[in-house]
Symmetry: C2
Subunit: 393 residues, 2 copies
């Protein structure tokens, strides 16, 4: 009587959400300061002051103007303002028509996939990958194809990717800076990817799209540059969110960028707009469109995450854990101390450490630690990491 696939998706929330919910309950029982919750990417850095002052200002403005429907793609002047900001950063020449504002990056990716997928299509992801990619790909009728990242540096394994591409490949999804590993793909790696996709698109006689999921773009360490993907590969669709850089995860504001370099970009823009309509999105929240108008050029506060990262790395080093040193985002990818990541995560729970097992990211044997949490929580978790290590000695 129901759609059983939907029921299953609702009955078994993602491993991340499950652990997060466990943590919320556990904190009620033993106290919030006793649970070391590394489960979710909920930024600990406060939104910039400008967000609060914009709310105060908008609360005194004409409500009819502020809260009205905008165009489905978002207010055109605000989209132009965002395009101008991108153009200043990347030397591009986008305008309002290239942007479709969304309820965050999740909506942006779901809408982009819906816009391009036809029956029989395949979508490639680089594993480990954000688990919801599978949900959206399968919901919109395509088959997910997993290509493991290079084991040495977790960049894209280009020969493996090329071997996985078939005549049915419609798109590749990448995420850099990467959740869950924290790697930032190098310019060289992305140029190699562009070369493979260009060659294979020609062979297929139709474009293979590159969906660049970029919510962590501004969160990079050591002065690294994140290459601007549409300037490397023409058929890139950028899916962005201000959730992480402005610490607004609950507010659902982001965009799809269809660059004018994309093949038939007008038709693609129409398909994005049609997909948004078909799925039940009317417009991105109007008030937060106006907040972004005021805050689009603010820098992200990465100092806190950089400090957290160092403290956590020091703890992991002290006890001899193996991990990938993150170049960006706010996740650490740590080798589980047994093959079964779920069993390791369960063992960690006994020490009140909430670590997401890697299985739902498409690989075994690791856990993900989100370090966008209070510095004190990280410091206080030191003994728990020591005790967990001793369990395996």
């Amino acid at each position: 009587m129901l759609n059983t696939t939907m029921q299953s998706l609702g009955a078994a929330p993602s491993a991340i959400r499950t652990l997060f919910a466990y943590g919320a309950e556990r904190k009620k029982v033993i106290g919030a300061d006793k649970v070391f919750d590394y489960s979710i990417g909920n930024p600990s850095v406060p939104a910039p002051e400008e967000v609060g002052s914009a709310l105060v200002e908008l609360g005194q403005a004409d409500p009819v103007a502020i809260h009205a429907y905008t165009q489905a793609a978002g207010d055109p002047d605000i989209r132009q303002r965002i395009a101008d900001s991108l153009n200043r950063q990347h030397g591009t020449s986008y305008d309002a028509s290239n942007l479709y504002l969304t309820c965050g990056a999740a909506a942006a990716i779901s809408i982009s996939l819906k816009a391009i997928i036809e029956p029989g299509d395949e979508i490639i992801v680089i594993s480990p990958y954000f688990p919801e990619y599978r949900v959206w790909i399968e919901t919109h009728g395509a088959r997910i194809v997993e290509v493991p990242a290079r084991l040495d540096n977790f960049e894209i394994d280009l020969p493996a990717l090329e071997a996985a591409i078939t005549a049915h490949t419609k798109a590749v999804i990448i995420n850099t800076p990467n959740n869950p590993v924290g790697v930032v793909y190098s310019l060289e790696n992305l140029q190699g990817l562009a070369s493979v996709l260009t060659r294979k698109s020609e062979q297929n006689g139709r474009p293979i799209f590159l969906i660049a999921d970029e919510p962590y773009r501004e969160l990079v360490y050591g002065g690294r540059e994140v290459p601007w993907v549409p300037s490397i590969y023409d058929n890139t669709i950028v899916c962005y969110s201000w959730s992480k850089c402005l610490s607004l995860p609950g507010e659902r504001i982001g965009y799809v960028l269809v660059p004018p370099t994309a093949t038939e970009h007008v038709a693609l823009t129409q398909a994005v707009s049609g997909a948004g309509r078909a799925l039940g999105f009317i417009c991105a929240p109007a008030l937060f469109q106006r907040i972004i108008e005021r805050c689009v050029d603010l820098p992200a506060d990465i100092a806190t995450y950089e400090r957290n990262r160092q403290i956590l790395c020091d703890i992991l080093d002290e006890f001899g854990y193996t991990y990938i040193e993150p170049q960006g985002a706010f996740y650490l990818w740590v080798k589980a101390l047994e093959d079964d990541a779920q069993a390791f995560s369960d063992k960690a729970k006994e020490h009140e450490l909430l670590l997401v097992p890697s299985d739902s990211f498409g690989v075994g044997g690791w856990v993900r630690l989100g370090y966008c949490i209070a510095e004190e929580t990280i410091r206080n978790s030191r003994e728990a990491f020591g005790a967990l290590k001793r369990d395996y000695e």
Copy 2:
């Protein structure tokens, strides 16, 4: 290379949006006061003062707490607050677990349909109906079945509905107070509907769901009561939005209510949650969840719409137009002066009157006038209605 259905949906926006966009351009050319734009349901009544003061207050609150992810279904305390409000109004006993907050009613309907539709299903709508119903029904894989409303009072034609139900009928969508006609279904009509659906559900051996799309619930005239549909039919799913009653259309905040009376309501709740996840909704905008927490019990300001309605009815009476006197919502359903509603709408445009032709609502020969606009615009449109009438004499 793209999903051609999505491209078509994006290339040909709804008739309402097309006329609205025409109006925006036309106002730039001849001045906003010269265009009589009855195209869209964008409330002219300002949001209550309490919304503005809540924004000012929240702009000074802890941003980490305010803007964080909530549970996918929404903050549980806020959901309980909404349930309490419903319980006070309707004598029900809902709790937080019965509510799933959404990005407005559009998302609520799309998610509800996705939650229940399986291949081969049919969804019944009462024509004239909100055009996007067709888009969501077909997107999620069902067939739309149109049952014309009774011609005398635009209530549900129960014998016609019963005849249209098959073994494949999964749900019926109703909208009361109704867009576009303005009718409020009587208790008797709804009880008759419940009786038909109960009998047919038994015959089919599975429930036929009733999706009650209720964004206009509070907007009724002459002290009318809008019956609470879940108290009449157990397998009702309520899709609600605060867009109209609190004048927040751009902010995208509403809910799906799965009442505990629904068959297998726990599984249905899971399917709703799974559908939200599958389509790319993460949570309803967090800040507006908090606004609703503060404003859920505020009355809607219907005096303005009641006055607008009277002024417009007087104008239509003066020139001898035929129309359905609205009992609720803020739309007037007016008989076109020729069989071809699109041609009539085009003729009206020559007098700067923007009236939505009825074809996209599934019937010919009428136009919809949204009177949620400035009173002065309605008054100033008098001569244009006179001139349009004379064109047909």
